[in-house]
């Protein structure tokens, strides 16, 4: 189904295999099979409640925080072919490799510096010089350094919404993740902040694999290489973004994309 772009080989970074997910007795994800390609942006689209955020949150085992949730099947993570959902794999280990940016900017009520440094501190890094360097790198990558370099000790809450979200991206970047998850990162932001985050996501894929949930189809079309359309917990169609948007294989996808549904 997937046709690789010209002169380009795709490597799989993670792949969902017959993934089922349950909230108690309710099955929220039904037999998902889908690859996430290395150093690419993969977008998950679909109407509200279709399970795209639920799917995303399987990748960093966020569901483990809540009782009554259950995974079946697996997400195989490369290059070590670890099943992220296995009972034997510690969710903390998974979250150390895969970072996440949330829907609402959620900086900690700490300084800008400490927000970005938190992931490093959790990993036992307390050397000031290393922290200084990594924080600066992360803030530069998140296109925030110029705006905050003179006030790293200010509270993160003093930043604007868009800056806070970029701070959260810096926090997620500082620990050199292999995969970054974005859960509708621009839904709480104004159009200008949204544009800057989108631009940032497109730049980041040079360094890191990105999986992004969005309810905004134009956004998916603008920034992603691959797109998956989900509906009622099922994967309806997965393919190269251009193909999904120009000539989808499934009628359901076409209806959603053309706005006849959803």
């Amino acid at each position: 189904m997937v046709t690789p772009m010209e002169n380009e080989t795709l490597t799989i970074k993670a792949e969902a295999k017959d993934l089922n997910f349950y909230y108690g007795n309710f099955q929220a994800l039904k037999g998902l099979n889908m690859p996430v390609y290395d150093k690419k942006v993969t977008a998950l689209i679909g109407p509200s409640g279709c399970g795209k955020s639920t799917f995303l949150r399987c990748f960093n085992r966020m569901h483990d925080l809540y009782p009554g949730t259950r995974y079946e099947g697996g997400i195989n993570f490369q290059p070590d072919n670890t099943n992220l959902l296995s009972d034997k794999v510690d969710p903390i280990e998974v979250r150390m490799r895969i970072s996440m940016v949330f829907q609402k900017p959620n900086p900690f009520p700490k300084s800008i510096f400490e927000n970005v440094a938190y992931g490093l501190r959790v990993r036992g890094e307390n050397r000031r010089a290393v922290l200084d360097q990594k924080v600066e790198e992360a803030l530069r990558s998140a296109a925030l350094w110029g705006e905050v370099k003179d006030r790293l000790n200010d509270l993160a809450f003093n930043l604007s919404g868009g800056q806070q979200q970029r701070l959260c991206i810096a926090r997620a970047l500082a620990t050199d993740p292999e995969l970054m998850l974005f859960d509708e990162p621009t839904s709480a932001l104004d159009p200008i902040a949204t544009a800057s985050i989108e631009e940032l996501v497109s730049e980041l894929k040079e360094k890191v694999t990105i999986l992004i949930v969005t309810h905004n189809m134009q956004q998916a079309a603008r920034i992603s290489d691959h797109t998956a359309y989900m509906y009622l917990g099922e994967l309806i169609e997965f393919g190269v973004t251009d193909q999904i948007f120009i000539k989808p294989q499934q009628k359901a996808t076409e209806d959603y994309i053309t706005g006849r549904f959803g």
Partner: protein, 308 residues
């Protein structure tokens, strides 16, 4: 109906409906005044009655058989030391229990039973704590009728307040902040240490101070464990000249506290002592009020940096 009639109609309806606003506001002010005025009257009365005793000597004198020489030195020192022990015991225990119940405890029957128990503890009459403490701290543990026993007793008394305050404060932390910490790869303990406890500090401290303000006025459990009413000396000072330069002897010293001193004076037949009692009461209320004020201030200061 002309448009004009329609408009008048609407205005009549609004005016009618608004009468209830007025009625409720009056009722509310009256209920408030009832509490505030009664308190103000009591407070004022104590101030007037105690006025002749508000001298430095009153604060720096031990109790005496002669009312005009008697002071509250041993009482206020005792109260402060007992509060110190209470805070030292109740804060770590209460915060740990609250954090455990909110963050670690599995949601099962046992947890539910513990929760109900904690809530019920808050309703146990304080004299029952006194009896418990008499049996456990004074005799079983052999702490005697000391500051330590009294402090631990009052710590038990305010423990539910601290636990409930801790839990409420933790629950106010939004889920997405907690998720943010976990998403960084933090363990449960790191999340609790770096986020949950610091962010719930304003609420916890407020609860602790409110609890202490309640404890400082408690009389019954302290009498039950056998606090003396006539103490003409201070506990030994914790600092000494020889190594290790400090000692904990004050913990086991006999003591009295403000409400007991006050109670003692009110039960004296001589009218002169009533002035002492009123003055001590006034100081005690002042202590409680300033603790409440401190709670409000602490909350305001710490909340300033946290917005959600």
């Amino acid at each position: 109906m002309t448009p004009e009639q329609k408009l008048n109609n609407i205005r009549t309806i609004i005016a009618k409906a608004k009468r209830f606003d007025l009625a409720f506001a009056v009722l509310g002010i009256l209920s408030l005044m009832l509490g505030v005025l009664v308190f103000a009257a009591l407070f004022g009365q104590m101030f007037i009655d105690g006025a002749p005793r508000f001298t430095l000597d009153f604060f720096s004198s031990f109790p005496s058989r002669r009312a005009e020489n008697a002071g509250i030195l041993s009482a206020w020192v005792g109260s402060i030391l007992v509060m110190l022990v209470t805070a030292m015991a109740a804060v770590p225990l209460g915060v740990a229990a609250g954090v455990y119940l909110e963050e670690y405890a599995p949601k099962n029957l046992l947890t539910d039973i513990i929760e109900i128990n904690v809530t019920n503890l808050a309703g146990v009459p304080s004299i029952v704590y006194g009896l418990l403490a008499l049996g456990v701290f004074v005799y079983q543990f052999g702490f005697g009728q000391s500051i330590l026993s009294a402090g631990l007793t009052l710590a038990l008394l305010i423990l539910p307040v601290v636990i409930v305050a801790t839990r409420e404060a933790i629950r106010a932390i939004p889920g997405y902040v907690r998720e943010g910490a976990y998403a960084c790869g933090a363990t449960q303990w790191q999340t609790v240490r770096d986020h949950i406890v610091p962010y719930s500090m304003p609420g916890i401290l407020t609860g602790v101070i409110i609890g202490l303000a309640r404890a400082i006025g408690e009389t019954a459990p302290i009498i039950t464990i056998g606090a003396l009413t006539f103490i003409a000396f201070l506990p030994p000072t914790p600092i000494q000249e020889t190594f290790p330069f400090m000692n904990m002897d004050w913990l086991t010293a006999p003591f009295t506290v403000m409400p007991i001193q006050m109670f003692n004076w009110t039960s004296r037949p001589e009218a002169e002592f009533q002035h002492n009692a009123a003055a001590a009461g006034f100081i005690l209320v002042l202590m409680t009020l300033s603790m409440n004020a401190l709670a409000i201030y602490v909350r305001y200061r710490l909340r300033k940096n946290i917005k959600w």
